[in-house]
Amino acid sequence: MNDLRILVVDDEEAVRESMAAWLEKTGYTVSLAKNGPDALAFLSREPFDLVLLDIKMPGMDGHELLREIRQHHPDTIIVMITAYGSIDSAVTAMKEGASDYLRKPFNPKDLIQLVEKLAKEKEMADEYRLARDRLAAYENKEFGDLIGCSEVMQSLFQQIEEVARADVPVLITGETGTGKELVARAIHSHSSRASGPFVAINCGAVPEQLLESELFGHERGAFTDAVKARVGRLEMADQGTLFLDEVGEISAQMQVSLLRALDEKSFFRVGGSRQVKSDFRLICATHQDVQALLKSGQMRSDFFYRISVMPMHIPPLRKRGDDIILLARRFLERFSHEINKPIEDFTPPAYRLLNRHNWSGNVRELINVIERAVMVGQGSKIDAEDLSFLGSEPATPSPGAPLREVEAKHIRQTLEDCGWNISRAAEVLEIDRGTLARHMKKHGIVKPR
């Protein structure tokens, strides 16, 4: 943290020298400039992280120098030093782009705390730049919208490439909002079936009685509303990939039908007598605990073994380190472009807030947060104030908390986040409205009046 390069600009030699001596004791590298032109010459030769700038100087004063530095060295942090009684001048300097000010003589505690705060911000900015460089290197790998430079994601990308080569069923697990469908699409686009269709269906969003027809299709007259024959998703996926999201939601009977279709690579449409052949690769996904599903009997073990020849797990966003900033930056670019609002970056406190947040809703939550921040943000950068709503996130349930309690908390929080809009909350939770209503009833959750 002590690799902060500091330039002290003060016309008084005693101040310059004592400040340098004092800062060097903490290990900072300090250069001294006696006036504005001297300071600009220093800045043109080498970069500085922090400039401690006296406001009152003969010739080019602190304000003029501040404007020059802001224009030509925008990344340099400037702290104004002012004599007792000239606060107005310091406030003007803050409006002109200074990060802070100190009033001479200041308490050692104030100086050290300010410098350490700035050093931390610089460290964060450096980390961000490093992460951005890593992202640039990664972007060449073409994994579509899947972004990540963290170790866990790099390992996932490698796994995607390996899995794509083997034409076997894959089961993707991961929390809601982690990007399971993106991974499935990446596998598809890297596989030999890339030129074929990618057909996705969210099994949790389709009522049980319609799911069979959605998957296998139906013949005309197969049931009351079947006024014409319809091709099912299995058939649509011929020569391509079929992605069954929330596979844990499908019934045992449907699992048997799917199992047979997978084994025989053929099936019958609902109400049909003709065997339909379809050659597809199956990728399933669930956010649920598969072992618990097996134990409760909700998932048949023969079905599980058939669909999870190659299991993959997507880490939650909170375990992806630098990826939070990378993704936030990517979504910021996207949304500011979409609504034509020139917001170029986040402030260091905003980055800190983003990094500290728990992201229980994962990437989906991050997208919503950035979209909202872009809407409310007023400056050229998103500040912590624009993300103040993040501070209200409840603590993560403690490990070992009963599932019922965790589920109730999560549902309530999602409903609150969605302003008690049931359809929106159901979408976020990736379940249908009816299922959400049942869960709300089970946990006694009602909309507050």
């Binding site: 943290m1 002590n2 008084e12 101040v15 004592s18 001596a21 004791k25 001479k104 308490n107 050290i112």
Partner: protein, 196 residues
């Protein structure tokens, strides 16, 4: 804390010292003798540099900052380092309140990789209740600041390891919480520098 008396000679009786670097501890004006010998003893025992008490110098009133009534540490350091022989480092001890032109006060100041350090007893005497601190606590503080500032003179910088004597002390409570020793990293650095 070491309180053993150390070698105490006047300038004219002085025998040639070894070629090893050593610290001259000097009172600047009226300073209690025990404080001087405690500083010297602890520099020798804990920092590992030979230390000796030399006759007092006059009060550094040339360093008084007009309008503040405090002493600017920088001219005092310049005066202490003036004409110091190659192997001699100087630690000045004053009862006056020290400051820097831009800082409201300092417990001590030093030239990093230089020749001199100066410490002030003025604020070290304050007790937690606003009264005078007990003698033992005051001497402990003095020893810590003396070791800390002299360590800067041999090139050591501030440390972030909790409890290490090279931590920067913002307040007396923080100084009191420091141990009278170096953390393992600083101790390695100290040994390397003292051997030079």
């Amino acid at each position: 804390m070491w309180q053993v008396p150390v070698e105490h000679r006047s300038g004219c009786e002085e025998k040639p010292l070894t070629k090893r670097r050593h610290v001259e501890v000097v009172a600047l004006g009226q300073v209690e003798e025990l404080a001087i010998s405690v500083a010297a003893a602890n520099i020798q025992a804990i920092l590992g540099l030979m230390a000796r008490v030399v006759p007092p110098w006059s009060d550094p009133d040339y360093a008084v900052l007009p309008g503040r009534g405090q002493y600017n540490a920088i001219p005092v350091l310049k005066e202490l380092s003036r004409q110091a022989e190659n192997n001699t480092l100087r630690l000045g001890i004053t009862s006056a309140d020290l400051c820097l032109p831009f800082l409201s006060f300092v417990y001590g100041e030093a030239q990093v990789n230089g020749k001199a350090a100066v410490i002030s007893l003025h604020r070290l005497k304050r007790g937690p209740d606003g009264k005078t601190a007990p003698s033992g606590l005051f001497l402990q503080r003095l020893a810590k600041v003396a070791i800390h500032e002299t360590a800067h003179v041999i090139g050591m910088t501030h440390c972030r390891q909790q409890g290490c004597i090279m931590c920067f002390s913002l307040e007396l409570e923080f100084l009191d919480a420091l141990s009278m020793s170096f953390c393992p990293d600083c101790d390695l650095d100290r040994r390397r520098r003292v051997r030079i």
